[in-house]
């Protein structure tokens, strides 16, 4: 299990390739499900120029470990990976990477989604958007439903 919070932009596909190289479950896992969340250049009908992602150092890491650990147990995962950005993010940059490895696809798909939904609703991150065209800044007040 690997969890990281990054101030710098990251390439999820490179991260995934590098993690696979040293995956303890290599040869045993038959499935890997991956989710990548990317910043859009619009939200609620407005153009967004950039945003700042804030977190609660200490609690955010602990909460991620808790929710990923719970999914690993529930779905009997062989491994899981979560990387999340903080700081200033611009449209097109990736915000979050979730990967789940298991023996079969069902558990990998289910766990990947479960981790992502739990992260969205319980991991202490907050987004503040800067709108395009000098429209000012605003806090994102809630996440959209994942269904």
């Amino acid at each position: 299990m690997y969890i990281d919070i990054r101030q710098q932009a990251f390439d999820p596909w490179q991260e995934l390739a590098a993690y696979r190289e040293r995956l303890p479950a290599a040869g045993r896992s038959g499935a890997c499900a991956v989710f990548v969340g990317t910043m859009r250049d619009y939200n609620e009908g407005d153009s967004v120029r950039s945003m700042v992602l804030e977190h609660y150092p200490g609690m955010t890491e602990q909460q991620l470990e808790k929710l990923v650990g719970a999914s690993c147990q529930t779905h009997d995962l062989m491994d899981a990976l979560v990387i999340h950005r903080i700081g200033e993010v611009t449209p097109g940059e990736d915000i979050v990477l979730v990967a789940a490895w298991s023996a079969h696809r069902g558990a990998a798909f289910d766990a990947c989604r479960e981790i992502m939904e739990a992260l969205k609703s319980t991991a202490p991150f907050w987004k503040k958007e800067t709108l395009a065209g000098d429209q000012g800044e605003r806090w994102v007040t809630r996440n959209t439903s994942g269904s």
């Binding site: 977190h55 609690m59 602990q62 915000i95 969205k120 991150f125 503040k128 806090w139 809630r142």
Partner: protein, 76 residues
């Protein structure tokens, strides 16, 4: 005999306060902590954590605890 209080995101901006240190004397639960730092009613939507774990307003706090108040989370 202190309790460390932290505020995040829009709540921090609204209160103009990132951290507060309050005396633990006479403070029993999270609700008491909020009343010691703000004269405004506690917004129902706000979330609370004690020592990095989610908690409710009735959670008993002790000397040295860190209590955090913050709005609904919006990561991912």
């Amino acid at each position: 005999m202190t309790i460390n209080v932290r505020f995040f995101a829009s709540l921090r901006e609204r209160l103009g306060l990132e951290r507060a240190e309050i005396s633990a004397e006479g403070v029993n639960d999270v609700r008491d902590v909020w009343q010691a730092v703000s004269d405004q009613p506690l917004d129902e939507e706000l979330l609370v954590a004690v020592n990095h774990n989610y908690a409710n307003l009735e959670k008993i706090v002790e000397d040295g605890d860190e209590v955090a108040f913050f709005p609904p989370v919006t990561g991912g």
